[in-house]
């Protein structure tokens, strides 16, 4: 009895697997998404969109996503802060708790200085968090305008049910545009299916020297909205923001208490720059000069480290989220119907962790820059 139950269970699992991976995609084929590292322009101000927006200002799909996140965040916090009540309502309570958790993290790193570094880190967290989670919304990276496929991109024919000149068009997943060679390699059943779906004849590869534009490679979709963090420009901008605010905050903290005004600021910058160009030890007499030289070299390395952080910040966020989208695409092409759910669950986790890590590292670096040491150092932090 037990053995039969086990057999049935395994049969169900295998049957489900075969159904999801084999039968369902065969009956209802899906469009394979294309992976593009650079963000594509969806709108072109003062240029020609058809020619990669040369000479104009390209509104890329990641810029659209960035603006959506910005507007959503500003709207949410305007609504909450418009009428704050002493006894908070549901929404206000939720965001108060949210901000309190973030503030707790800042306090853990910076102690009593938390209030000064909190705004930068929390803003970055909220932006990155919302931007990462846009990846999970349906329609993002799948809805867009169609254009002619170029190069190695797999193109599809338009769905025959779409009327001519319609605003809303669909690609026909049964009819990927393939070359004659690829068509010959298909099984007879697949060739039969193509014929039944009413696909066009396979294209002939343009010979060497002939114009590529003469061959119609079908259509592909450029998404209107693409996850902001999968554009390296967005993550680089965030990294530069952290870099600049770290330096400014560090210099401000090196201003001596007894100096005010421009002289104080200059002294602060000078003392802060000493961290990266520590020539003080070189002036010492005798064998102490050697240790001074070592100090000087170490300070140079510290300065280099500040710039390496920009690269590390940029690629950490970009790599994680972009790898996530590529993973979703790969799973979509293998198990298109239920498979991506597991990947999306993983991406939920990764998106939160990356936002948290970005914020924490910003806190840690800013706090480290503010540490005053050396002979003029003030006591206690």
């Amino acid at each position: 009895m037990n053995a039969i139950a086990r057999l049935i269970r395994w049969a169900v699992i295998v049957g489900l697997f075969v159904f999801l991976c084999g039968i369902l995609p065969r009956l209802f084929p899906t469009i394979l998404p294309t992976v593009s590292v650079e963000a594509e322009p969806v709108l072109c101000l003062g240029g020609d969109l058809a020619h990669h927006c040369e000479g104009g200002f390209a509104v890329t799909n990641s810029l659209v996503a960035t603006l959506i996140v910005d507007v959503a965040l500003i709207a949410i916090f305007l609504i909450i802060s418009r009428s704050p009540r002493l006894v908070p309502g549901r929404l206000q309570n939720f965001f108060e708790a949210f901000i309190e958790i973030l503030y707790g993290q800042a306090e853990q790193v910076a102690g009593k200085n938390a209030a000064r570094i909190f705004p930068v880190g929390a803003t970055i967290f909220l932006f990155v968090f919302f931007a990462n989670y846009m990846e999970l919304l349906p329609g993002v990276e799948s809805v867009g305008y169609v254009h002619h496929a170029e190069g190695d991109v797999q193109g599809y024919e338009l769905d025959p049910s779409t009327p001519e000149g319609s605003f809303l068009v669909f690609l026909n997943p049964r009819c990927p545009v393939i070359t004659q060679d690829a068509y010959d390699r298909l099984t007879p059943a697949a060739q039969q299916a193509r014929a039944e779906a009413g696909c066009r004849e396979p294209i002939h590869e343009a010979a060497e020297g002939e114009g590529e534009s003469e061959v119609d490679r079908g259509w592909t979709v450029v998404p209107t909205v693409r996850t902001a963090s999968t554009d390296i420009n967005v993550t680089l901008a965030l990294a530069l923001m952290v870099f600049i605010s770290t330096q400014v905050y560090g210099a401000i903290n090196h201003i001596p208490h007894d100096r005010k005004g421009v002289a104080g600021v200059l002294t602060g910058i000078k003392r802060y720059a000493n961290k990266f160009f520590n020539t003080g030890g070189l002036k010492k007499p005798g064998p102490a000069k050697i240790f001074g030289a070592i100090d000087w070299f170490a300070s140079l390395l510290e300065g280099l480290g500040e710039f390496v952080r920009i690269v590390s910040f940029t690629f950490r966020l970009f790599g994680n989220i972009f790898a996530g989208t590529v993973l979703i695409f790969v799973v979509m092409s293998l198990v298109p119907y239920v498979g991506p759910v597991a990947t999306l669950l993983l991406e939920t986790f990764v998106g939160l962790i990356q936002a948290y890590v970005f914020m924490m590292l910003a806190f840690v670096f800013m706090n480290a820059a503010a540490q005053v040491h050396g002979e003029h150092g003030e006591a206690g932090h």
Binding site: V35, R316, I353, L361
Partner: protein, 79 residues
Amino acid sequence: MDIETATVLAKYLGAGFAMIGTIGAGIGIGLAVGGAVQAMGRNPDAASLIQTNMILGVAFSEAIGIFCLVVSLILLFVI
């Protein structure tokens, strides 16, 4: 082998070889988390502090693995 085939071959091989670097990141993350779990077992009260530092350490070593990933993604999709 003509130059075009060789380029494609080198591209895919390079992308694969670049991912070897993630071995180091994996070992690093394993060591960090292993140490953190041991520390949490010995001193459960300090768990939240340890966890924060662990995530930071994991982020640092993960960055190296991500660099490798970015290199191989660039080889695959950009070049």
